[in-house]
Symmetry: C2
Subunit: 310 residues, 2 copies
């Protein structure tokens, strides 16, 4: 049994109460606490040395990444982040300079987005550094964007460029908070998710919550320069398109809205965010499953093992 | 530099915003989010295998402890816990049965206190299990109990019995949520803290926030049976009194209120909580420092190295 199967098995039995609007299964938990017209967003995310960052990664970037991952989840709900608590688990002895630099990066990102570092704790993890961030935010009930809500016929959009994040972007990406707030405020977004597991994987998460399927247009997928530059020719090499479909940690926004709003959105976006690419990459379909349209026609995108695909 | 010195050095420079009522330095962060008449409480706490629990500890108890530690912090603010997110960092492969049992304990404790498990995440920590809990709660602004607020002349009370928690209580204690709510609702509590670092250490935390000092009455300190049963005679042995003063993880409430309320409190407590001991163990003084009154008279309680004391 892997972790996802285990969590899926445990989730239905977990304690709940009248505050819970959305529990596990979206980018953040959504809670009704009596805030006028708003819900509370609640998220945790951990990064672990040797898993999410290497010992050689600049500590400022590690601190940035730890917080920015959570911020990206608040963005995906259309929300405003408010306060974070930092859990820092360290080997003993530890390098105080590393910790200080890590906090510098984290703190700078917090300031840039108006987030308070309201406390936290330091504990011991003898073999490696682990940083867990707990973040709260708020969102207007009328603007809260869930993974569910996508409808057949919706246009499917993605921000930025995809693939190859491990070449550097994963340590430096800026969470799409401003973009998501603008989208939630100006367009009838039906569903949104942030890309952490890769376009194909996260689109499946969105479809699992919304129902239906999706058709992707291969030539419309915004393949990043890093994905194009990947070494090719090795048996394990991914094509640039496959990298854009399956690499994790893009931290871009994937969302759907009625097809009739696609052109007005594209026009308004170019004026508001001229430096951020926005791509219409396909559509939501009533037919379940994920399909890719390329020169060879329309073909199913298998859930696993598409290493030799595309 | 140890972790506490490092955090103390970093804390003043951390990002803040208008929501923060109390940041690091109390049992929970306190946030003004616009809830009518209430503040939000926000807390994280982690337990690590080999540090906070042994591999042999029953997983149900580990799950209980992980959540109950956070609940105890909400209790110490006079608050009501609402929702938790669970971060579970596991070696690979892991024992799904252990995880299931751990969740059973955690979930039962959550249900008992009306807390929703609103999600969380599973990640990898190759060498040992780490469980971090993020908890939110609320508290009426008028009832929020801080570490600051103790005044010279206040009576000093503690719930339960102290010392020797590692013999078993640390895995089974019940957070004093009902007791703290009742106290906050019926008496003019000036300051409160939960005991995690030991009576003397946590009293110092309270005094650091409140100013002033305290005088403890040795014969009034409620020494637990576990503290009395500790093996004696070894050079490293603690006396039962010293164990009650310095052992950690009691998770009892330490609080102060005007001396004039001490007798009414003791009377009302016996009727409301007949099975929970409540002890008046001393008083707050204008003179800084911690002093212990025993048969030999009044003597200072040194901050470090009182192993040979009492």
């Amino acid at each position: 049994m892997n972790e996802l199967e285990l969590i899926a098995r445990l989730a239905p039995g977990l304690a709940t109460n009248a505050s819970v609007v959305v529990a596990a299964g979206d980018d953040c938990a959504v809670l009704e606490l009596g805030l006028p017209d708003r819900w509370l967003l609640f998220k945790t995310d951990a990064v672990v040395e040797g898993i999410h960052f290497t010992p050689e990664a600049p500590p400022r970037c590690v601190g940035h990444k730890a917080l920015a991952r959570c911020l990206s989840d608040v963005a995906a709900m259309g929300g405003i982040p408010n306060s974070a608590l930092i859990t820092l688990a360290l080997p003993r002895p530890f390098d105080p300079l590393w910790v200080e630099k890590m906090y510098e990066g984290l703190n700078a990102t917090a300031r840039r987005h108006g987030v308070a570092i309201a406390g936290g704790e330091t504990t011991t993890n003898p073999e490696r550094i682990l940083i867990s961030i707990a973040l709260i935010g708020t969102v207007e009930k009328a603007r809260c964007l869930l993974r569910s809500g996508a409808k057949a016929g919706d246009a499917l959009f993605v921000t930025g460029e995809l693939g190859g994040s491990l070449a550097g972007k994963h340590l430096e990406f800026e969470p799409r908070l401003a973009e998501a707030r603008w989208l939630a405020g100006h367009f009838a977004i039906h569903a949104m998710i942030d890309l952490s597991d890769g376009l194909a994987g996260d689109l499946r998460h969105l479809l699992k919550a919304s129902g239906g399927g999706a058709e992707l247009l291969a030539r419309a997928i915004p393949v990043s320069r890093a994905a194009r530059r990947r070494p090719q020719g090795e048996p394990s090499a991914k094509s640039p398109l496959l990298a854009a479909l399956s690499d994790g940690e893009d931290f871009e926004l994937l969302f759907t809205l009625p097809a009739s709003e696609a052109v007005p959105l594209a026009d308004a976006w170019r004026k508001r965010f001229p430096e951020v690419r926005l791509s219409c990459i396909g559509k939501i379909t009533a037919q379940p499953g994920l399909r890719l349209r390329d020169k060879k026609g329309l073909q199913p995108l298998p859930e696993h093992g598409y290493v030799h695909f595309a």
